[in-house]
């Protein structure tokens, strides 16, 4: 009997404030930036901002799934530093036997992705199978990875061999049609992420798990596997972000990736994903990442506020975003 009634949700509706809010904030920032500095809208500056956003952005896409499924991962910044250190060590060690060339770069990339996958699976296993709070598990692994990278670098800096670095550099600095690789990779991951989140059964299962895991369980959704996959995917994405990041500086140290978890989580929340889980949107996360990067960029281009206060401003914004989320909920 599908002939009598037709679905009514297809027509155009005015987007709600929760959709418009982040977009408006982004536009306001663009306007402010343009007014403060004429170079702000130049192609070079915008490309720079987006390319720098790409690392956090790639991680934040994965974080969107973790948070939507009712989890949290504080370890991503340390994990990125550890993977970067590991990748550099492996590539340097393989250099005498493999020489400079594409194979050794591929070896480094595989190392990063496998290490990310394993680190993500470990977090996920401790959280889902052993049932330990995500906050505690990832707070712990955050300390472990940060300490490991410091140990690997013996308190200093791990540097990629100079010849390798020159060869690897284009992965960050080159691209197609003037668009650099990190932006391209970021864009592809965003599109895949958005489709999975909004159109696939897995995205629906994440939202159901984060919304009410009992309901999900009684609806025959495999809650544990859904969560485990979200952590594993986040680990892989941290690996990919590291692959993009290493050629930029060619080194890793104890200060690599510091506060990336703050930026990634902030981007997710600013984008409208609910911190307690149950609702997430990847495109919102992209806007969140851009908002954070633009703030940093504007601080750098102008001298009202010291760029050193960037972290403070990000911290305030994440708290504000959660307050706004709560009031939105109370109003509905």
């Amino acid at each position: 009997m599908t002939d009598t009634t037709t679905p009514q949700t297809r027509g155009f509706q005015m987007p709600s404030m929760s959709v418009l809010g982040p977009i408006i904030a982004l536009i306001v920032l663009l306007v402010i930036g343009t007014m403060l500095n004429s170079n702000f809208l130049s192609a070079a500056n915008i490309t720079n901002v987006v390319a720098r956003s790409a690392f956090i952005g790639i991680i934040a896409v994965g974080m969107t799934f973790v948070i939507t499924a009712g989890g949290l991962d504080l370890s991503v910044g340390s994990m990125a530093a550890f993977i970067a250190g590991l990748m550099i060590l492996v590539m340097n060690a393989a250099l005498p036997s493999m020489g400079v060339g594409i194979p050794i770069i591929l070896l480094g990339m595989v190392t990063a992705i496998v290490a990310g996958l394993l680190a993500g699976l470990l977090n996920g296993f401790l959280i889902t199978t052993l049932g330990i709070e995500a906050f505690i598990v990832t707070l712990g692994s955050m300390g472990v990875y940060r300490s490991l990278v410091t140990w690997l670098a013996d308190g200093g800096t791990l540097s990629l061999d100079f010849g390798l670095r020159t060869f690897y550099r284009p992965v960050y600095f080159d691209g197609i049609l003037g668009i650099s690789w990190p932006i391209i990779v970021f864009a592809i991951i965003v599109i895949i992420g958005e489709v999975i989140m909004s159109r696939s059964a897995y995205g629906r299962h994440c939202a159901a798990t984060g919304s009410n895991e009992h309901v999900a369980h009684y609806s025959n959704v495999n809650v544990r596997r859904t969560r485990l996959i979200s952590y594993a995917a986040l680990g892989i994405l941290v690996g990919i972000a590291t692959i993009m990041y290493v050629p930029r500086l060619g080194s890793a140290s104890a200060s690599t990736g510091v506060l990336w978890e703050l930026e990634a989580i902030a981007a997710v929340i600013i984008g409208g994903t609910v911190l307690k889980g149950g609702f997430g949107r990847v495109w919102g996360t992209v806007i969140g990442v851009l908002i954070l990067s633009l703030i940093g960029n504007i601080l750098n281009l102008t001298d009202f506020v010291s760029p050193y206060l960037n972290g403070a401003i990000q911290g305030v914004i994440i708290i504000l975003a959660v307050i706004l989320q709560r009031e939105r909920k109370a109003a509905s």
Partner: protein, 505 residues
């Protein structure tokens, strides 16, 4: 009643946006009188109670306290005026003690420190007045539902309630607990408290209330003495049509109906041990027993929703072992939970996402086909008569009856051949109950096999072809045909095996 009303609504209307949900409602509560407010889900009972208690202001009309129109800015003002409302979901802090709960937010102090001795003395006093024998030091989380209900009433006493409003106080109580509650309600009434309560159980209304107000679609359709109204007349007034044939007739299961499910020695650790039973095609098997007898856990174990072990499970002549709930669903066995709010539906989400959650694999491969989902929703709304206003309403905003219909639609999307329904009509109105009973019978007639777990005796007797009674995690007996009597079920539930030992199969 002799006295003038303590609290009354005068031609109260209430609108949410453009929709008027209450139309010129009049209601008067008198001191020393118990007033029942009944009606189907969505008739406006909750809104009426909230306006009385000061949770919401009326759009038109007035709330009159002791003859004076009043407007409460918030709950605290209502409570200060002696109006206390007890919600269906208890408003107690589980991790605090009884005493801490009773004085929560209004702790007695001596100087800077708490006056624990005085609070304890008064708590004992309040508990004694409601004949509740829990210790003031007991953690609320350790109390039974009826004890929590009593603590709520003790809390109301501590606020010197002159008007006590209770939203379905007996919905989660056993019969025995309900009796205890009613004894206390009578004590309070004799002490001069005005009491309003809602219930879907008309026998309780007839038993305990002095006056009754019946609502339908936001109108008061009857107001008067309870004694002048029969239960049948109440039901008819609520629904607006005759509901004497609440249960569909039983065609009887043929002797040679094939066995579709055979369970041998199913055990659920901590809840049920070595339960064996069979289920025939076209049959509705009722499972009776007290709450806590392991009925729910047994069936959840069967559906692999919780750890369980069995000697053998034979489904349609095939031996099966369910490792995860998806396995049972795939084999054609589905369980519909008793707790639609916490386990059945995502309250924050819309109907479409809830409907298809359990069967997303049927709506496209990796990507979900939204059009197919919308079509399924259209079909479900039609088939199950879901009345929700708009299609994109949050499920949490739907009435209990419509939620239950949606939950049923969701489970039926799996096309189960064996359906286990747990408390299918808890907290829903009589009209919807009738629809659900008719649906279950139609399903059985079409050759499905159904297991119904229910705590409502009339429902068990009215619906089931055969009844299995559980007690302390074991089957205490099975009743068929003429042996199905209320007395026999109660005896088996309580573990009595006197002279009238029923026909144990």
């Amino acid at each position: 009643m002799t006295s003038s009303p303590v609290l009354a609504l005068r031609t109260v209307s209430k609108s949410f946006g453009p929709v008027e949900v209450l139309h010129n409602v009049n209601l008067a509560l008198s001191a020393g009188s118990v007033h029942a407010l009944i009606g189907e889900n969505g008739a406006g009972k909750s809104t009426t109670m909230k306006i009385l208690a000061g949770y919401q202001p009326p759009t038109k009309g007035s709330v009159v306290l002791d003859g004076q129109p009043v407007q409460f800015a918030n709950l605290q003002e209502g409570e200060a005026a002696g109006i206390v409302m007890i919600h269906q979901e208890f408003n107690l802090a589980e991790q605090l003690t009884v005493e801490q709960n009773i004085f929560l937010g209004r702790e007695l102090k001596r100087g800077l420190l708490l006056d624990k001795a005085e609070m304890r003395r008064r708590t004992r006093d309040y508990l004694a007045r409601v004949a509740c024998e829990v210790s003031p030091d007991a953690l609320v989380s350790s109390l039974s539902n009826s004890e929590k209900q009593m603590v709520e009433i003790a809390k109301a006493l501590s606020r010197d309630a002159r008007v006590l409003i209770m939203d379905e106080p007996t919905a989660v109580l056993t019969n025995r607990e309900t009796e205890v509650l009613f004894e206390q309600v009578q004590t309070l009434r004799d002490a001069g408290t005005a009491i309003l309560f809602t219930s879907h159980k008309l026998d309780e209304v007839a038993q305990i209330s002095d006056q009754v107000t019946i609502m339908r679609d936001g109108d008061v359709v009857y107001a008067g003495e309870t004694a002048e109204m029969s239960e049948d007349a109440m039901a008819t007034a609520m629904v607006g049509r005759d509901v004497s044939d609440l249960y569909p007739s039983k065609p009887g299961v043929p002797e040679d109906a094939p066995v579709v499910l055979e369970v041998e020695n199913l055990s659920v650790p901590g809840f049920a041990s070595n339960v064996s039973f069979t289920l025939n095609k076209g049959e509705i098997l009722g499972i009776g027993g007290l709450i806590g007898s392991g009925r729910t856990e047994l069936m959840e174990g069967l559906a692999a929703l919780r750890p369980a072990s069995a000697a053998r499970i034979t489904l349609f002549d095939q031996t099966k072992q369910f490792k995860r709930p998806g396995d049972a669903q795939q084999a054609g066995l589905c369980y519909l939970t008793e707790d639609r709010k916490m386990r059945g539906l995502l309250l924050e989400r819309g109907m479409r996402e809830n409907l298809t959650l359990q069967n997303l694999h049927k709506f496209g491969g990796f990507l979900i086909d939204r059009n197919a989902e919308e079509a399924a929703l259209t079909e479900a709304i039609r088939e199950f008569d879901i009345r929700s206003g708009t299609r994109d309403v949050r499920v949490g905003n739907m009435s209990g009856g419509n939620q239950q219909k949606l939950l049923l639609a969701k489970v039926m999307l799996s096309e189960p051949r064996i359906l286990i329904v747990d408390e299918p009509t808890r907290g829903i109105d009589i009209g919807t109950k009738q629809q659900i009973y008719a649906f279950l019978r139609k399903l059985a007639d079409a050759g499905h096999a159904i297991i119904v777990i229910t705590s409502e005796m009339p429902e068990l007797i009215g619906l089931a072809d055969r009844i299995m009674v559980m007690r302390l995690g074991e089957v205490s007996g099975t009743l068929t045909q003429n042996a199905i009597t209320e007395d026999a079920i109660v005896r088996l539930s309580m573990g009595l095996r006197g002279e009238q030992t029923p026909n144990v199969a």
